[in-house]
């Protein structure tokens, strides 16, 4: 369904060009639950932004349902069926939670329907629906609202960038259930970037990205033993040595 072909991405830094994603190829099949993990700074969020169209690759091609979307903009990709929950959700002065969920759902949802999505991410809907998506929300609340916007979109491909970050332990189990339900109810695919063993544990496939490249890829049963209890999940030295 989604294919990345030889994707490279450079940015201009102080010391000239820096290659953040290096000739990376990856395919995500229909109905699959794929988890990307790997060390901080490895290029995971960058890859997600390349998929959403926020960044354009320096070279390589991106195909979505066999269509070349390399040159397609963010809006176009969103409307084709790609959703993206940010690692760091954006705040909006004056825009209410209800407004945001309605925009995401692309229809005039009733307040009750919008509440459904908030309840799913463990927010007591009536307390939040009229709140502004501004600095008054806590980090975890904002993160849940971000996830709710992607749920409301209900698209073919949903990409979540570290959805568990900032979510408390008690709610964590609920979040896992949200993803499991999503996987059952949509025949779409879910791509989650995560450092959490419990999320890795529900993956069909696991991809490890370090230093802009895929270092491991395979089924959960294949990859889990390789990364748990070894230093390779988070390789502190390679991060420090950079």
């Amino acid at each position: 369904m989604l294919t990345l072909e030889n994707i490279s991405f450079d940015v201009k830094g102080e010391g000239g060009e820096k290659e953040i994603i290096k000739n990376l190829s990856l395919t995500i099949d229909e109905g699959k639950f794929v988890v990307i993990t790997g060390p901080n700074g490895g290029g995971k969020s960058t890859l997600a932004k390349l998929i959403a169209g926020i960044y354009k690759p320096t070279s390589g091609r991106i195909l979505f349902n066999e269509t070349d979307i390399t040159e397609a903009g963010i809006t176009e990709r969103a409307n084709m069926g790609i959703s993206f929950a940010f690692q760091q959700p954006v705040r909006f002065k004056g825009v209410q939670v209800l407004d945001l969920i309605r925009l995401a759902a692309k229809k005039k949802l009733s307040a009750a329907d919008a509440c459904q999505y908030l309840s799913e991410v463990g927010l007591c809907a009536k307390d939040y629906i009229n709140r502004e998506v501004n600095g008054s929300l806590s980090g975890g609340e904002l993160k849940r609202i971000e996830i709710a916007t992607v749920l409301a979109r209900n698209t073919q491909l949903s990409v979540f960038d570290e959805p568990e970050a900032g979510i408390d332990l008690w709610s964590f189990q609920n979040l896992i259930q949200v993803f499991e339900r999503m996987r059952e109810s949509t025949n779409g695919s879910i791509l989650i970037i995560s450092h959490q063993e419990r999320i890795l544990n529900i993956a069909d496939e696991i991809v490890v990205i370090a230093d802009g490249q895929i270092t491991k890829k395979g089924s959960r049963d294949e990859i889990m033993p390789q990364i748990m209890g070894t230093a390779s999940a988070v390789d502190a030295c390679s991060v420090l040595n950079r």
Binding site: F84, F86, V90, F92, K93, G94, V95, K106
Partner: protein, 312 residues
């Protein structure tokens, strides 16, 4: 009704809807002014409205301890080339609790300028509570300019409370708003201003708040968006003359080739005067637009949503 020689027509009715949220004749007291003359008026047992003897405006008298009543005093100008200055004086009795809705709409299809300069004076009695809403709106495809220059003077007695909501979203070519308030002991003033300018519009808003009585407080917040070639200026002056608290904030989004000036001026004449000013001018954050685009909105739609929310 019927004693006045103007009648409300369809255009005027629509403008009334814009500025005063009126779909029909309002409840409570009202005075509707159309093209320079009073068109309709209604008073209640507690709220009296009388024309000034020299014809320059009206006096609105609210009896002490009047509770939960409202006064609407919208003004519409639908003739091109009309220029008027109107004085409205509000006497708000001790201990009352009322809502006052004012507003001015101009429909100018002609080529001459239309101008309405309203001077509103509020005398807010001891412990009285007032919510004041003022909306400005202009429309019409003529070349004639639409000009509004409202002056608001507020005198607040001990323990009184006033909340002012001032909105100007569309269609006024030039506006110069002046608001001056004097606050006695324990009085509290809250101002929320919303402003959107576009085209080559010019808007200036200046506030002077004198905190004269102990523990008086004021909170003046302006949120504005300037688009295209429009100009905005926000001047906010708070004088703390005793133990008091004042806060003023200007939060503006600048777009296209607009220009925004924010001028804070805080004067503390007493060691216990606590005064704060915050001002922020900036364009829409790129990441906000990107987020909305990932929800399927175009860049223009995203901008419109952000501006809408910001001014809500």
């Amino acid at each position: 009704m019927g004693q006045f020689d103007q009648k409300i027509d369809a255009i005027q009715m629509r403008i009334l809807e814009e500025v005063a949220g009126l779909h029909e004749v309002p409840e409570g007291a009202y005075n509707i002014r159309a093209n320079g003359k009073t068109a309709e008026r209604s008073t209640t047992a507690n709220i009296d409205i009388v024309s000034k003897e020299d014809g320059s405006g009206i006096d609105i008298k609210i009896r002490p301890f009047t509770k939960h009543e409202s006064v609407h005093i919208p003004v519409v100008l639908s003739e091109s080339g009309l220029t008027e200055t109107v004085y409205n004086d509000f006497y708000i009795g001790e201990g009352s609790d009322v809502v006052i809705v004012a507003g001015c709409g101009i429909h100018n299809c002609g080529d001459q300028k239309s101008e309405h300069d309203g001077i509103h004076r509020f005398f807010v009695g001891k412990n009285a509570k007032v919510k004041y809403v003022e909306k400005h709106y202009g429309e019409g495809d003529g070349k004639g300019q639409r000009i509004l220059n409202p002056v608001t003077e507020v005198t607040m007695e001990e323990g009184s409370y006033m909340e002012m909501e001032m909105v100007q979203i569309k269609g006024v070519d030039s506006t110069k708003r002046t608001t001056v308030a004097d606050l006695d002991k324990n009085a509290k003033l809250i101002v929320r201003e919303r402003l959107l300018t576009h085209g080559s519009q010019d808007a200036e808003s200046s506030f002077v708040v004198n905190l004269n009585g102990e523990d008086a407080s004021a909170d003046v917040v302006s949120r504005s968006v300037a688009k295209e070639h429009s100009h905005q200026k926000f001047v906010s002056q708070i004088n703390g003359n005793t133990r008091c608290a004042g806060h003023t904030e200007c939060d503006a989004i600048i777009m296209d080739d607009a220009k925004i000036v924010a001028v804070p001026e805080l004067t503390a004449n007493d060691v216990d005067a606590a005064l704060i000013h915050e001002a922020a001018i900036g364009k829409i954050a790129g990441e906000q637009i990107i987020k909305l685009m990932t929800l399927g909105l175009t860049e223009e739609e995203a901008e419109a949503q952000i501006v809408n929310g910001f001014l809500k």
